[in-house]
């Protein structure tokens, strides 16, 4: 359904050219959920915005690559087609639900407007539809809540409203950019359950962008790990967690404190900070922080290589070599 081929997105900043997305390719089938995991600065958010060409231009430019949505290239689409595509077929929800809603209009009005821009419905029908949608996303007493303003809702409720707006046109693809980051953990659980149930009910494909490996472990079929504008590992969710093939993914998994772990275990320490994308390191982007780095890593940025069925990783180490090295690092 969605096919991204060798996508490059550059940002022109006063400090220099940032290669925010640097040769990313992936495919998404209908009804599938893909998780894109990365830290701030990894380019995951720019990638997500590129999928509907939402990055402000300037500073963003798309020098290379294509994004095929049901066979149409989004990057070369005319503005009218692009507008009808956004919201209709591809919908987005964002991290901060407050800034995505207009504070001076009632929730109901904003929702009805969203419905009417995509479907030719009378005011009454649209209102009926709005109530249905709010019920779908689990807002109690929707008739009354339609009369509320955004500030009268909590963060979790606002995110539900945004999901309702996103679902108004029954999109085929929902892009969620850190939708739970600003929320408390119990509310986050509610929203994740909601996204799951929506997917089951409508068969919507979801691209979930997050920094939290736990969130995608629960939700995604496939996971793409991004580092410094590149996909460094791409595999089924189980393979990412149990057959990790890229040192970055592996270190990240071992550096996060886990609720299900014994307390006194020391966390693995990833040295340094994510790289500066104006002046990225020579060779592999991760090598200055990598516990397995060797001379070969200085030479070139390794391409994604096959590690198993549907499992790609960008590392000079082969899987058996990596397995051997892992033991060494864990012991030391």
């Amino acid at each position: 359904m969605l096919e991204v081929n060798d996508l490059h997105v550059h940002l022109e900043t006063p400090a220099g050219l940032v290669k925010a997305v640097d040769g990313v390719s992936f495919r998404l089938e209908a009804g599938q959920t893909i998780g894109i995991v990365g830290e701030s600065g990894s380019g995951k958010s720019v990638l997500a915005h590129s999928l509907t060409k939402l990055n402000p231009e300037p500073p963003a430019t798309y020098p290379k690559g294509e994004i095929l949505f049901q066979g149409e290239n989004i990057l070369t689409m005319n503005k009218r087609r692009l507008r009808s595509m956004r919201g209709n077929e591809i919908a987005m929800i964002f991290q901060d639900p407050m800034s995505s809603l207009n504070p001076v209009f009632k929730i109901g009005k904003q929702l009805i407007e969203a419905i009417q821009t995509h479907q030719k419905l009378s005011k009454k029908e649209a209102q009926q539809k709005a109530i249905e949608l709010l019920t779908d996303v689990g807002i109690p007493d929707p008739e009354r809540r339609m009369q509320s303003y955004p500030h009268q809702f909590s963060g979790g409720m606002r995110q539900r409203v945004l999901i309702a707006i996103a679902l108004a046109a029954r999109p085929k693809l929902l892009i969620a950019d850190e939708p739970t980051t600003a929320l408390d953990v119990t509310i986050q659980a509610q929203i994740i359950e909601l996204l799951k149930s929506i997917q089951q009910k409508y068969g919507t494909a979801i691209i979930m962008i997050t920094h939290d490996l736990g969130v995608v472990a629960n939700l995604a079929d496939r996971i793409l790990v991004m580092y410094a504008g590149k996909i460094v590992e791409s595999a089924s969710t189980a393979d990412i967690f149990y057959k990790t093939a890229m040192p970055y993914t592996w270190s990240l998994l071992r550096s996060i404190p886990r609720l299900d772990a014994g307390a006194s275990e020391r966390l693995l320490h990833i040295e340094g900070q994510p790289p500066n994308l104006i002046d990225p390191p020579q060779g592999c982007n991760f090598h200055p922080r990598c516990p397995f780095a060797r001379d070969a890593c200085l030479q070139e940025n390794p391409p994604l290589g096959e590690r198993g069925p549907g499992h790609l990783a960008a590392c000079v180490l082969s899987q058996p070599e990596f397995e051997k090295e892992k033991k060494g690092v864990l012991l030391s």
């Binding site: 940002l11 940032v18 500066n276 994308l277």
Partner: protein, 283 residues
């Protein structure tokens, strides 16, 4: 880019005026005070660029020299009003218990139009440069203290202020090492505006005849003297007027430029903070 150029031009003009008047004695070809009855009210010519006044004195020389008084009054008022206003604003914003009383006093001053207040004070104190400076300071410090107070209120709850408190730093140090440096930009911007306003106010007071001693050349005095000749010798009024406009305009442009340069919400800095990926993350 455009506005940057504009700021530079404004700065150049202002520096030219300031340096020109300070060094006037070294380069002025004609004396600003030499009276010549034969040469009364001459129109501009190669000998008298701006013409002559009703005593035959060279208007160009007088406009240049008059800038001294205007700029001096402006600078002193700007400095004194800034210091007084900043102190009150800092105290009022930081020590919340003093806020109510200090701000009601300031509001009292603010209730009068600045020029009217200055006029009344000068009328009461008498028209010397010192008194004008005192009057204008009283007229302009309240705005400064309001500006500073609101800037302090904004950063009062910043974590670095709380952090300074928890490290045992005393209030005096917090006020001058933590609060003041972080509200400096609105202070500097506001003080350039006070500078400009003070020049205007001094001219207005002199024009009204309650300002600087009429024998001293100031732009306001010149305007006042030229009033009755405005139909027969318009240059007598025009050149001091233009001098005021150019000086005040260049100061206002400078103030605006400084405001843009200091504004923490300007696009460039905002991006740097919110989205480190768009610029270089610090090394």
């Amino acid at each position: 880019m455009m506005s940057k150029k504009r700021n530079l031009i404004a700065l150049a003009i202002f520096l030219l005026i300031a340096l020109g008047t300070i060094t006037a004695n070294l380069w002025l070809p004609l004396s600003p005070t030499a009276i010549d009855a034969e040469q009364r009210l001459l129109s501009p010519s190669a000998a008298h660029w701006f013409g002559t006044d009703d005593f035959g004195r060279d208007i160009f020389a007088r406009v240049v020299v008059a800038a001294r008084v205007s700029l001096a009054v402006g600078v002193i008022v700007a400095i004194v009003a800034t210091v007084v206003g900043t102190l009150i604003g800092l105290i009022s914003g930081y020590f919340r218990k003093t806020d109510f009383i200090l701000m009601r006093i300031v509001d009292g001053f603010l209730a009068f139009p600045a020029l009217l207040l200055a006029l009344a004070l000068v009328a009461a104190l008498g028209g010397s440069i010192t008194n004008i400076v005192i009057a204008l300071t009283i007229a302009f410090f309240p705005v400064m203290s309001r500006v500073v107070r609101s800037a302090v209120l904004q950063i009062n709850n910043a974590q670095y202020i709380e952090a300074a408190k928890t490290t045992g730093t005393n209030n005096f140090v917090i006020l001058f090492r933590y609060v003041l440096p972080n509200v400096l930009s609105p202070i500097i911007v506001q003080s350039t505006f006070i500078f400009a306003k003070a020049i205007l106010a001094e001219a207005a007071l002199s024009f009204l005849g309650v300002g600087v001693n009429p024998s001293t050349p100031t732009w306001g005095n010149m305007l006042q003297e030229s009033q009755i000749y405005i139909t027969i010798a318009p240059w007598f009024s025009i050149f001091p007027g233009v001098a005021i406009v150019i000086t005040v305009l260049s100061l206002n442009i400078l103030g605006d430029g400084l405001r843009d340069a200091f504004d923490p919400h300007s696009m460039k800095r905002k991006k740097k903070k919110r989205k480190p990926k768009q610029t270089a993350p610090a090394a």
